[in-house]
Amino acid sequence: MRRAAAIGLALAALALALSACGGGGGIEGGGSKEAETVKLEGKPSGSLTISNWPLYIDKGTVPAFEKATGISVKYIEDINSNEEFFNKMQPLLQQGESGGRSIFVLADYQVSKMYKLGYLQNLDKSGLPNVEKNLSPSLQHPEFDPERSFTVPWQSGMTGVIVNKETAPNVHSICDLFDSQYKGKVDFLNEVRETVPLVMKCEGVDPGKATEADWMKAIEKIKGAAESGQIRRFTGNDYARDLTSGDAVAVIGWSGDAVQLEADNPNLEWRMPTEGCMLWSEDMVIPTGAPNPTAAEAWMNYVYDPTVQANIAEYVNYVTPVEGVKPILAKRDPELAENQLIFPSASFTKKCSPTPIIEGKEEQNVIKAFDSVLNG
């Protein structure tokens, strides 16, 4: 009897604690707020913290920037996934803080979403003369930021197919990845915005004009392939491991990785899918509450100097957004300068599509459906 009373009391206390604690449940979303423009203050100095993806810069650029400007840089490679990084930072951003960071590097769709939530600042173009001068024309007016008022591209790239020439010589398209002779030897990326649109392209749908039904149909196709064992597993960068160990013979992968993999293993090769690839870029942005935006813009401007960018491009092997890099690299490493994966010609990417932007309820439904395929 006494025991029952004690349990009842404990439950009542728990219910009370549940409804009382945490108070700040209903924080207002940003949304309607007009984005502020960064305030530049004289000559850049002080310190600067940058968050970027791992292995996305050469070893020399940060020290050279520090030497040239006297700014001390804390360069953190703590971004491994757009969603994970955003979800980690979101509680801070909600309170107008940036976790001490002045620059994030995130994908187009992610920064577009953050801008709408009021988490990013507009840039002051007077601090970015190199960007004005050298930004590649094809990247100057993207749909999500037509005047490049809050983003500066860091690197671009392509998502397509990487194969082992010996074991999968006949894979030339996304549709070929569904060929049952490669059963259990195919990896797909776990990125909904790249994998699903590529499969749409195989089905003849233009991802830019896709309806929710088109997304769902492509996801169904992927689901079928996962359940039948055609798709071995869904990966991030770790498809590189499967390709080199022979566990996978054809994967959906990224162009920069392909350059590296080709260099390390002559059997591996990038294949531009006959349906075309996905084109994406990742952008430098300045979050609201970022300390020292002056130094942040100085950094953005610095990496848009073609000589500086040549060092970065030579190391990361993605598509550089900066004009004037090719002639510099042609002198240093002619083969690299001719590589279509680093300096793609217009005809090479003719059939490629930019990462489609999906939002709101549609985005939620699509992500949920794709995630249930990932979780099998």
Partner: protein, 285 residues
């Protein structure tokens, strides 16, 4: 004076542990419980007693729940089959090698869990000798071993095996050998004395070992992440992706609670069935 002090001593001893548990277990648990009843999207979560998080979590992810319990169950059973003879050998037959063998059981802990699991990726990869042998004896029906449920169960078994071996060893080692001798004196065969003396006396170790293996294995996500393929994700992977990829905190919190509850129910039934004196040993009688 001394009696008052004596009465207070237990509370002093309990103090640090209690503070630690309240701060780092009870408080987060209350937050988690609250979160599991919220609705809305991140940034706009509101506490609304939203019980549908639970019903949705259960109906959407029932496959992964069943899969987790099947994998964890299989891994526990395999561990038991491997661990018991080993623990028996260490306790009764190892002689001067006993300490060396115990050290060998614990040695894997000197490397991190993650690295050991990733090492299995290499061991089981398609072109490794291990896979070729398994293939030759017909144990790789799908053509590959890595990225299958078998690989996940093998990984779980490997990673949690020491938690099975050590408690069984401890209970075997405590057995008074004179009892076994007495059984023999009373004309029981080796099998009989094992079944009627050794096995019952080692039951506390078996039960502790199965619990220590099953509970963490059911919530594990590392093995499925690295050794599993499409269609081998466990409930831990779902919770991880709900938190980090989809930012659906309420559903993730609800799933965590469902997992805790299911494990708790399973454990209670198990202990009832096995008898709590078996878990506690002689002391409970």
């Amino acid at each position: 004076m001394t009696t008052v002090r004596r009465r207070l001593i237990p509370y002093f001893l309990l103090g640090p542990g209690t503070v630690w548990l309240v701060l780092f277990f009870v408080v987060p648990l209350i937050y988690l419980a609250r979160l599991s009843l919220e609705s809305g999207v991140v940034g706009n979560l509101e506490f609304t007693w939203n019980w549908s998080n639970y019903s949705e979590a259960l109906s959407l992810y029932d496959t992964q729940f069943v899969r987790s319990f099947v994998y964890a169950g299989a891994a526990t059973l395999l561990s038991l089959v491997i661990a018991y003879p080993l623990a028996y050998a260490i306790a009764f037959k190892a002689g001067r090698w006993r300490n060396v063998m115990l050290f060998a059981v614990v040695a894997p802990f000197f490397t991190t869990y993650l690295i050991r699991t990733i090492a299995w990726e290499t061991i089981l990869s398609d072109e490794s000798p291990v896979t070729e042998i398994l293939h030759a004896i017909g144990l790789a029906p799908g053509g590959h071993v890595l990225a299958t449920s078998g690989a996940v169960i093998a990984g779980l078994t490997y990673n949690f095996l020491p938690f099975m071996i050590l408690p069984i060893y401890a209970s075997l080692e405590r057995i008074d050998v004179r009892l076994i001798e007495a059984a023999k004196d009373l004309y029981s065969s080796a099998t009989q004395s094992f079944l009627r003396v050794t096995l019952p006396l080692s039951a506390p170790g078996i039960i502790a070992g199965t619990l220590l293996t099953f509970i963490p294995a059911a919530g594990d996500y590392v093995n499925a992440q690295f050794l599993g393929g499409a269609g081998n994700r466990m409930i831990g992977n779902v919770i991880q992706s709900l938190y980090l990829t989809q930012a659906d905190y309420p559903s993730a919190a609800a799933l965590s609670f469902v997992l805790m509850t299911l494990i708790m129910i399973a454990v209670v039934i198990y202990i009832r069935f096995a008898g709590s004196e078996a878990l506690m040993g002689e002391e409970a009688k």
